[in-house]
Symmetry: C2
Subunit: 329 residues, 2 copies
DNA sequence: TTAAATACTGCAACCGGTTGCAAATTATAA
DNA sequence: TTATAATTTGCAACCGGTTGCAGTATTTAA
């Protein structure tokens, strides 16, 4: 069923049908009713592809996610998707994988699909290939980069100041009487680098000693706890751990508990992300809330503003908040 | 940049350019090279919207997800999306929310976007509104329903026999010497009903007694453990628990541990989903692997077969597998 | 009652591709 | 060398909408 068929049944031109559908310009009330009746009768559903081609606006937004199986990203994607939908934009969520090749491909797909704009989620996209591909394929459409930053002229960077959050965590540990704070991580992402930066600044400001431990992805996947225990044996003065994410913190708690190290008395723990993991551990986990929902929402809102030619700052920063639970004494 | 501009630069007609791009019919080698050179030079990117309109094939698939924040669904969505992409189909993932209204709206969006087919994930979509809306908007395009079933003529139902899995779990508990098995759940979904069915059958086949406990969503969100402890006080003979999902099992372990009930000696526990939660508990969690990746993969493959006019069975069933860990004695 | 202004409506071009058909070119066979 | 077949290529219509412009109908003002 096309507007032409509707037009025929309603005995008007296709233009008029189009005007009725879009509530555009002046259509006589009688005509409008007549057309609307036919529209309703046939349960007309407009072909958005044709409209896109004609208006040169797809009303689709591409969302590039590093890994949709990772709730850290999907929490953000959920917020953006919901917000965009409320504003009449439909989302194409693409799982861009980890390889540069796959990222390039994903961006090209979005470009060919004529999306009106894009939201990129995850610091993993902060690289030359993405930068170049965007320049080639997306030079005129707005892009929001969540939790990362790219210098392209049409990319708007929206980041959570994770470094500040970690710094605050260090200060909080001091307030709770901890003195030897280990920062433990397992992913070498830009986000992690930022966290380490905040950690180092905080430690340095307090005149404390830095302790950094990096677990390999393999070790965490096999839940190998020797690395941590050995490290603690070598550095028995350590009395607090900041883990780069809640999953790692959860595994750390499991490891310490099994080795009869008391949390929070012997060692205090802070996770990052304030995820569901925080509730299921004993003791429950103090964690840095990264404000992911806010980030997603703000991202969607910024993109909509750009699409409506409102001005948006090229760089926006929001700040995490520490949610205290039982893992600190 | 359009094929017309390319055509002009290459001094051929747009038809020829189109033929080169699509590797279609006979194009002279010389001409092909000439066109390809211009294509490359200008880094031509084809407008898929125009192609969709013209070919009446969008090469897009709609994926309807009940909640993209829930890893149970995104694991499946990830598999389907990856598989579809490998076959040249791009996915529109829509988070369809919980309300019937939102589901209707989502289906209509997909229909208007002219997707070639759809994949529906989650038993929550197993309702009259969805059934009707699909009939109205999707009557001619194939739909794969994962973990649910709808009688529409173009809907292909692919389900995991969760009832069989739970039944097997009951049998396994018996083998491990457990006799009084509680089934605990907190969501009233069709999937849960199926699990309970399997539980009851298993229990009945063994001549055991059924113990069912339903926690409200509010209770689980607030991590209220009184309900379980009280239930166990009233039924002290209970020596095993099957939880409707791993999160609930994890919370159960936390609750029992805090109340000094030994797992697996006093009470054995089986979770469902074989998720990441299984590793982080002490003891680690025996869980029913729902074969979500297989489901997602099979779903994508079936849809592709349908789109290529190959025959696909209207109903396919796959079976879970129990992964044993430390939570059984 | 008539001229000018305003409200409606339709024509036709356009968005950027694809494709059947026919024309033009080249290759093959007689 | 010519008739015929096969290969290449372009024309023009089509996919299903939108929209500027012009023409017609209806008001409003004079």
């Amino acid at each position: 069923m096309t507007i032409y068929e509707i037009a025929e049944k309603a005995d008007v031109s296709a233009s008029t049908v189009s005007r009725v559908i879009n509530n555009k310009s002046s259509v006589n009330k009688k005509t409008r009713n007549k057309v609307q009746k036919v529209l309703d009768e046939y349960n007309f559903s407009l072909n958005e592809t044709a409209r896109s081609l004609s208006t040169n606006q797809s009303k689709m937004i591409g969302i590039l996610v590093a890994d949709i199986r990772n709730s850290h990203y999907t929490d953000i994607a959920y917020e953006t998707e919901t917000n965009l939908l409320e504003n009449g934009y439909c989302s194409i969520i693409i799982n861009a994988g980890n390889t540069a090749e796959r990222m390039r491909e994903s961006i090209e797909i979005l470009s060919k699909r004529q999306v009106d704009g894009a939201i990129i989620i995850g610091s993993i996209f902060q690289n030359k290939v993405v930068e170049k591909t965007l320049k080639k394929n997306f030079n005129d459409r707005p892009i929001i980069f969540l939790n990362g930053s790219l210098p392209n002229k049409n990319v708007y960077n929206l980041v959570v100041a994770e470094d500040e959050g970690v710094k605050e965590s260090v200060y909080l540990l001091k307030e709770h009487g901890y003195k030897h704070i280990l920062f433990m991580s397992w992913m070498e992402t830009a986000s992690n680098t930022l966290k380490i930066k905040g950690y180092k600044e905080g430690i340095s400001n307090l005149g404390y000693t830095t302790y950094l431990l990096n677990i390999t992805e393999k070790e965490i996947k096999t839940h190998n706890s020797d690395v941590l225990i050995n490290y603690l044996k070598l550095n028995p003065q350590i009395d607090a751990i900041i883990s780069s994410d809640d999953l790692l913190a959860t595994l750390t708690i499991k490891c310490l508990t099994e080795n009869n190290i008391n949390i929070p008395n012997e060692i205090g723990i802070i996770g990052i992300n304030n995820s569901e993991y925080c509730y299921i551990t004993t003791p429950s986990l103090t964690s840095l809330d990264n404000k992911q929902s806010e980030l997603g929402q703000l991202g969607a809102q910024s993109l909509i503003n750009l699409l409506n030619n409102k001005s948006v700052s090229k760089k926006i920063q929001i700040f995490p908040e520490i949610i205290e639970r039982e893992s600190l004494r």
